[in-house]
């Protein structure tokens, strides 16, 4: 049965090539004589969402899914995805991760704190379960070799040591599955990955300069002729023309002070004011949307 079957997870973002990379691993393992099962989910995950692929191998594999806390290694093409899937790694296992960051646009929506919730790089993040974290600058390695798209092969090379099969199986699998004409560079990238040094952790992004907080919208109603320009441009949907033509402030707390409405109003009917000094000593409200 499957007592000795091992597991590996590959994780990344839709479009990064997680599925091709996992097919290469599965193919290499099959060439090495193992029973292999490889499982992923298509569909919604493709559209810029999180993508994960499970690989199991052994004499005879039962489950195609890796059980939580049992994977030898997690190969992550992106740091936030490493954190998302690390619970599948066994105690004393390993995480090999690119130092690449892909900030989801959805994380760029806190217009009070102006901060993405993107996690900082931390080498000790998984140490409580004695999981070793290995950072690889796959992009830099691939660019050095002349093709940024070979970054995935760099990661595969960095993971190879945890899989423990002969090099020839990797080389054959890569040559048979990567797009025609890119065999050589992908093989070079794989070798680069095998010897890749521990990458320098990128510095945390600078904190945004102080933001004054939600601005105040003053409307000079008798100057407004209900032309409907300002409700169409407000990025935060703060304004609305009522059925009787009155301009309403419907989302006052969301005004960021961009002044588009003020600048575009043909009748100078809108004035945007920063919050009064006394009001913005309170901590900014965060998590407006999610």
């Amino acid at each position: 049965m499957s007592d000795n079957s091992k597991g590996l997870l590959l994780a990344g973002v839709g479009g990064q090539g997680v599925i091709l990379a996992s097919m290469i691993i599965a193919d290499a393992l099959m060439r090495a004589g193992f029973d292999v099962k490889q499982s992923e989910v298509h569909g919604m995950a493709q559209r810029g969402g999180s993508v994960v692929s499970h690989i199991r191998w052994g004499k005879e594999v039962a489950s195609p899914l890796v059980e939580k806390g049992s994977a030898e290694v997690l190969a992550a093409f992106e740091w936030a995805e490493a954190i998302r899937w690390v619970d599948y790694v066994r105690n004393e296992g390993a995480v090999v991760t690119d130092i690449k960051t892909i900030v989801p646009p959805g994380a760029c929506n806190d217009t009070h704190a102006w901060s993405t919730a993107y996690p900082r790089f931390e080498i000790d993040l998984f140490r409580s379960r004695l999981i070793e974290t290995r950072f690889v600058d796959a992009t830099a390695n691939a660019v050095q070799l002349g093709n940024v798209r070979a970054a995935n092969s760099v990661i595969l090379g960095s993971v190879a040591a945890f899989v423990g099969i002969d090099l020839i199986h990797w080389e054959e699998a890569i040559a048979s599955l990567v797009p025609k004409g890119t065999e050589e560079i992908n093989l070079a990238a794989f070798h680069a990955g095998m010897n890749a040094p521990m990458a320098q952790i990128p510095a945390p992004p600078a904190e945004p300069a102080e933001y004054l907080g939600p601005h105040l919208i003053d409307i000079q109603q008798d100057w407004c002729k209900s032309c409907d320009i300002c409700p169409r441009v407000c990025p935060e949907h703060c304004l609305k023309l009522d059925t009787d033509g009155t301009l309403l402030v419907i989302n006052a707390d969301a005004c960021t002070g961009c002044r588009l409405c003020e600048m575009l109003c043909p009748d100078f009917a809108i004035t945007i004011r920063p919050p009064a000094a006394a009001e913005h000593h309170e901590p900014a409200i965060s998590g407006r949307k999610m």
Binding site: M1, G15, L20, M23, D27, M30, D35, V36, K37, Q38, S39, E40, V41, H42, G43, M44, A45, Q46, R47, G48, G49, S50, V61, A62, S63, P64, L65, E67, A80, E81, I83, R84, D87, V103, P104, P105, G106, A107, C108, N109, W114, T116, A117, Y118, P119, L125, V148, A206, P208, A209, Y211, R232, V233, P235, T256, G257, C258, L260, M263, M290
Partner: protein, 603 residues
């Protein structure tokens, strides 16, 4: 999505095939000559993987009902036929399905239905095993790629031996799991020819009354077959407990309890009640381990067999080795389950419309209008999420238009009522809804988001694309002509990349009294051709961080580290930007420009 080309022959060689590819290969080896279906995750790759086979007719139908009709016709014509769809597709095809169980088939007919427990890419997680029981149709459940091939081939034999359609039910983890499969030869199955038999094939009441007892007799024979068939497989040892399993969950059982006594049902309808009863007598406790509904569990209870199941294993979502371990721990079979806490602090990463998606501008316009938007099934359903958040309903394929008619009839919308529907979905299930909108003279606008493909499932052909799955040219449905023929007076075609035209067309159509149609005509940027124009960039000094571009929800635009008055400026990723110009058209200070015109911008 990567779709392997199914290997040509090399009989005896072993290859890695996904469950879907293995099913297709099983049909090939069984000598099937017609394969037909409608795309739907996780079933889509079955037909795609054999589209290159010139000796077969491999086709997309406009919907699952038509696909099953085509399949039954082909089967009665005397060729082995495969029909594929996702679980909810069988709802569409159910009308044919329920009665074809009465008629039986000609040559073997196998219906593959891929369930999606956990709803990775579906609107519900209905259980196809219930349909097998309602229709009285046998159902096989492969648990891996090897069985997916073997069971599909066997299903054709069963179909012919018992004169019945046969369901092969997979789940996401069977369809999208690659495993090692040994290839076999293709069987040569010549066309048998149609034999006229109105008593059997013309289901008027007088004839159908005769077929109903035949259906019940056949089910009894199939149950006897299941009792002795190698599809029912006992393994493991021990007498304290035993487990009845089927499909993917058998693998999870073996992962968690490698030696436990188990009875695996390759055919889970009709059940081999005798075998299960015997099996139950050899153990103190009998568990049923099944994903989704307690269907086998209830059947066994009805047969007077004491079982345990759903009190330990969840009825919601997909099972996993973890869920099975937790269940057996709760049942006292395994030691206490120690869960692993996920690492804290990562960011949510929901799916998004692609950079350059032509669906984006219409939803920006609809959000400004505050319209009540009845949505439909496709990529554009993602417009329901932040930041577009401009869809109010999404139920089933084609539902948008009928729901808009009803919403307008209610008088309670409080805003203009707009249905949005993709081209493939419109041809699948929207035409009758539009006929009703005209018939009811409903004051609604229907936006047909025509991107020339079935995008959500990876870009499949349909009757509007002018091409077929096997690469031939075909006549393309004329959507404008179709809408006009149905009686819509106000039909507008717009380029959704022209923001001004998009806004004014939608506002104009909404103002029209009675049904109106707006058709967008930009192709999908990902399929069938990757559309890539000059990427754009943000002139940082000009960006006022107003966030207007961010309202489009483009994955290529994120916050930069620079700020203006404390607000974050934005940057565009030139690698993923398709150059669609949507953000540039939105930008008030004209800070977004094509990368090639850098010199010009510097002036």
């Amino acid at each position: 999505m990567t779709v392997d080309i199914e290997p040509r022959s090399e009989t005896g060689t072993t290859v890695l095939l996904s469950g879907n590819e293995a099913i297709a290969r099983g049909a090939v080896e069984a000598g099937a000559l017609v394969a037909v279906g409608y795309p739907g995750t996780p079933s889509t790759e079955i037909l795609e993987s054999i589209a290159h086979r010139t000796e077969m007719q491999v086709r997309w139908s406009p919907n699952e009902k038509v696909a099953l009709d085509v399949a039954l016709g082909a089967s009665l014509g005397g060729v082995r036929t495969l029909c594929t769809m996702k679980h909810v597709g069988l709802n569409v095809a159910a009308d044919t399905f329920m009665t074809m169980a009465y008629t039986g088939v000609g040559a073997g007919l196998v219906i593959v239905v891929a369930d999606d427990p956990g709803m990775h890419s579906s609107q519900n997680e209905q259980d196809t095993r219930a349909y097998a029981r309602m229709g009285g149709v046998p159902l096989l459940e492969p648990s891996n790629s090897k069985e997916a091939k073997a069971f599909t081939a066997l299903a054709f034999e069963i179909s012919e031996q018992f004169d019945t359609p046969v369901l092969v039910r997979t789940t996401t983890r069977v369809s999208h799991n690659r495993g090692v499969v040994e290839l076999g030869d293709r069987m040569d199955k010549p066309v048998v020819g149609f034999e006229r038999n109105p008593q059997k094939y013309v289901m008027i009441p007088g004839h159908a009354r005769g077929r109903r007892p035949a259906l019940l007799r056949r089910l009894k024979e199939l149950a006897e077959y299941a009792e002795t068939s190698p599809l029912t497989k006992e393994s493991g040892t021990g007498d304290s407990f035993g487990v009845v399993t089927s499909g993917i969950v058998h693998n999870y059982l073996r992962e968690v309890l490698p030696d436990a006594k188990a009875l695996k049902l390759g055919m889970s309808h009709p059940l081999p009640i005798g075998r299960i009863r015997e099996f139950s007598k050899t153990v103190d406790r009998l568990f049923v381990l099944e994903e989704l509904d307690p269907i086998v569990e209830n059947d066994l209870r009805a047969a007077g067999i004491a079982v345990e199941g759903k009190e330990f294993f969840p009825q919601v979502g997909e099972l996993s080795p973890d869920a099975v371990r937790r269940g057996f721990a709760a049942a006292g079979i395994l030691p206490e389950y120690l869960s692993i806490e996920p690492a804290p602090g990562t960011v949510a990463r929901p799916p998004l419309l692609c950079p350059g998606c032509p669906h984006t501008p219409p939803y920006l316009a609809l959000k400004r209008l505050g319209a009540v938007v009845t949505g439909d099934i496709g990529c554009y359903t993602l417009a329901a999420l932040e930041p577009l958040s401009s869809m109010d309903t999404c139920i089933a394929m084609g539902s948008s238009i009928g729901m808009a008619v009803g919403m307008a009839a209610s008088g309670g919308a409080g805003a203009p009522v707009v249905a949005t529907i993709g081209d493939s979905t419109f041809l699948h299930g929207g035409i009758a809804g539009l006929a009703d909108a005209v018939y009811a003279d409903a004051n609604i606008t229907v936006i047909i988001l025509d991107n020339g493909t079935t995008a959500m499932t990876g870009g499949q052909e349909h009757p509007g694309t002018g091409t077929t799955l096997q690469g031939a040219e075909a006549k393309a449905v004329d959507l404008v002509g179709l809408c006009e023929a149905l009686g819509v007076r106000d039909v507008r075609v717009i380029d959704p990349y022209d923001m001004g035209a998009t806004y004014s067309a939608i506002e104009g159509a909404v103002a029209h009294i009675g049904p109106s149609v707006v058709i967008t005509n930009r192709p999908c940027v990902e399929a069938p051709v990757k559309v890539r124009d000059t990427p754009f960039k943000v002139i940082a000094e000009a960006c006022t961080a107003c966030q207007l571009c961010m309202t489009a929800g483009c994955p290529s635009i994120v916050w930069s580290e620079e700020t203006f008055e404390g607000r974050r400026k934005v940057v565009i990723d030139p690698v993923t930007c398709t150059g669609c110009t949507i953000c540039a058209q939105l930008c008030p200070p004209l800070a977004i420009i094509p990368i090639t015109s850098e010199a010009e911008a510097a002036r």
